[in-house]
Symmetry: C2
Subunit: 385 residues, 2 copies
């Protein structure tokens, strides 16, 4: 029997995690944490009977208490850390969005809890803190993300020192094949049409700019301990080849499957074993008939090139890349900047930060640089109208 | 330092094995065996200085002795067995063609030598003898074959009881997409044009009839201990996806690469490690642009369907399938039967054998059934003119 705590239990990864383990009597959910979705949390508590829940938003936590359910109710960052480190927790699924995931991840590692990580920011901004800590604590960080899970699966049983290249696949998003001039004036409605994956608005826009792939390059760099220039992005529009690893003998190992997040969730929870998933979702290569591959167009999708730049510069720069992007996407969704200007805004903030890079920032420094980048975009940008 | 013996050293696999290990000071070639190519063997001996050689053909062995080289010269089946089991042999590459490979493989296993197997017949006909013996001796049989190596690579680090299906890829050969009526009157010149792999005449014809794939289904059945109906053939005309494994979670792991036999040879010799191969031969997915997949047409390529039938019936039937095919191919190359009649001849022999199947034949019984099948095709067939 093992006890699982899910941070972000009502989000897409959280609910699918609950779905994946529903028939496994060996896993008990002992803790659930949400930002503020108390009604959905109430349903989950009534079904799963966890020991504790955490509602990050204090007011919502009070509202939840009014339900009078027989469960310990925590709140705020202290609550997230407490639930991720409590005795009746063996493993934490970190699927909250944003920098909010970083402190609970660090706390969980220090308390020797296994960590399945679906939170990008933690590694992008604090990989230099997280990875040595995980290694020191003897905990393997298990990625929940189709691409990083695919890389991890392609590395199973293979010698790390024989990796030649990581082939990180990308769908290319809804604007694949378009040139810069064709992307002028693209609206959020256009950008929100993702061809293969149903995802939240922020990540769908990130996919359309390929900043999402830039963030994934940075994550892969930390997760698999390879320099960013050993990571090659390959556009695979059908989203069937989830990523691959090329070895020094020229052999390429790849993981394929239908676009279904339950596979990376399941693998993160059960690896090196695998847990059966319903047979109605299986890849049929002959029915699919073809897979196509392209090089990414980094001129048009400058957001990806900026991710490599952030990775090469390292230190605090990935934090600026990520935070400036978050602000830029928010502004795009508010129609305050054009589609192509998302990358311009990120670049502007990175240029401004370059002279002040902190090579190995502390968590406090990361948070303060994040704040700086957001403010810079909001108040100093010459692009934002 | 480990000592390698290569049976079939002047053939395609043998020479490529020597090429793969040429820069490795940790591997010494101590034995070489050939059927009768004494001139090529002389060159190899002068370069590699093995302790012993074996020339299967006794007369050719005498001719070789006349060169007066400082090497022990063996001959015949006894010589093959002696060289495969001698003290200064740690590992045997079995790359001879035909049933001739079976006895030395058995002897090597009994003498606890590691075995890298590029010989199909050994497993197709005697898998029920070889696999339990290997397991008893604690020796893993390492396949040298692009498809089986790909399956093996896709299984590395994975739980065997979670395999759902093995996806064995096939190029489809030169007649892919053709219907039966279009294949009437096809000549050996047409059949010998393989789209991707440069191989010998026999195996190229086997590829055009897909009997080659039927034999591989039978090999995979033994190597990976799965029923033939868990093995699905997928046509992948570019020969880039060398095979794959589908697990119970729907995840598919595949091994890809350019068609280059040095990869499976290298992997067989170095697994679970990998040995660097020259960087001039690397797969570039974006340059390749696309991979296509089809279901095999088992009506047109009845030779594949017969392989499944032989596997389901088991026992001595795969021996008949293999031996009847060898005779039929020889007759096709002599223009004595039509292309489509190759499969008809195999089917005729299988039909005749069905009432006499031996469930678990001894090696002697296998050899006698092989003889029977050859004679049946040569003398009893109603198809051969």
């Amino acid at each position: 029997m093992r006890n699982l705590v899910i941070l972000g239990s009502t989000g897409s990864i959280g609910t699918q995690t609950i779905d994946v383990i529903k028939d496994d009597p060996e896993i008990k959910v002992t803790g659930l944490a949400v930002y503020g979705s108390v009604d959905k949390l109430k349903e989950q508590v009534e079904k799963l009977h966890p020991e504790a829940v955490c509602i990050y938003d204090e007011k919502k936590a009070e509202a939840f208490k009014a339900f009078g359910l027989p469960v310990k109710v925590l709140s705020g960052m202290d609550g997230l850390i407490e639930i991720a480190t409590m005795d009746s927790c063996d493993e934490v699924v970190v699927s909250v969005v944003g920098m909010i995931g970083t402190r609970p991840t660090i706390a969980a590692l220090k308390a020797k809890k296994r960590v399945a990580l679906a939170n990008k920011e933690t590694l992008v901004c604090a990989g230099h803190i997280i990875m040595p800590l995980a290694s020191e604590c003897g905990i393997e960080i298990k990625p929940i993300d189709s691409e990083h899970s695919a890389i991890w699966q392609s590395l199973t049983g293979e010698p790390h020192n024989r990796i030649e290249k990581i082939l990180l696949t990308a769908s290319g998003g809804p604007f694949r094949g378009k040139k810069r001039e064709e992307l002028r004036g693209k609206t959020k409605e256009d950008a929100l049409k993702h061809p293969n994956w149903a995802m939240g608005r922020k990540i769908t826009i990130d996919s359309s700019t390929m900043v999402n792939k830039g963030l994934e390059v940075l994550e892969a760099h930390w997760l698999f301990d390879v320099p960013v220039d050993m990571i090659k992005v390959v556009v695979q529009p059908q989203s069937i080849v989830h990523s691959a690893v090329q070895y020094v003998d020229g052999s390429v190992k790849a993981q394929l499957g239908l676009p279904d997040m339950r596979i990376p969730i399941e693998y993160a929870l059960y690896a090196p074993d695998r847990h059966p998933l319903p047979e109605d979702r299986r890849l049929d290569l002959a029915e699919l008939a073809k897979l196509t591959f392209e090089d990414p167009d980094m001129e048009t999708f400058k957001g990806l090139a900026l991710g490599y730049r952030a990775g090469r510069l390292g230190g605090s720069m990935p934090t600026v890349y990520n935070a400036a992007n978050e602000e830029a996407v928010a502004m795009f969704l508010e129609d305050r900047i054009d589609f192509l200007e998302i990358a311009d805004v990120i670049e502007e903030a990175m240029d401004a930060h370059e002279k002040d890079i902190i090579p190995s920032p502390t968590l406090e420094e990361i948070l303060s640089i994040e704040e700086w980048a957001r403010n810079y975009v909001k108040t100093n940008s010459k692009i934002v109208r």
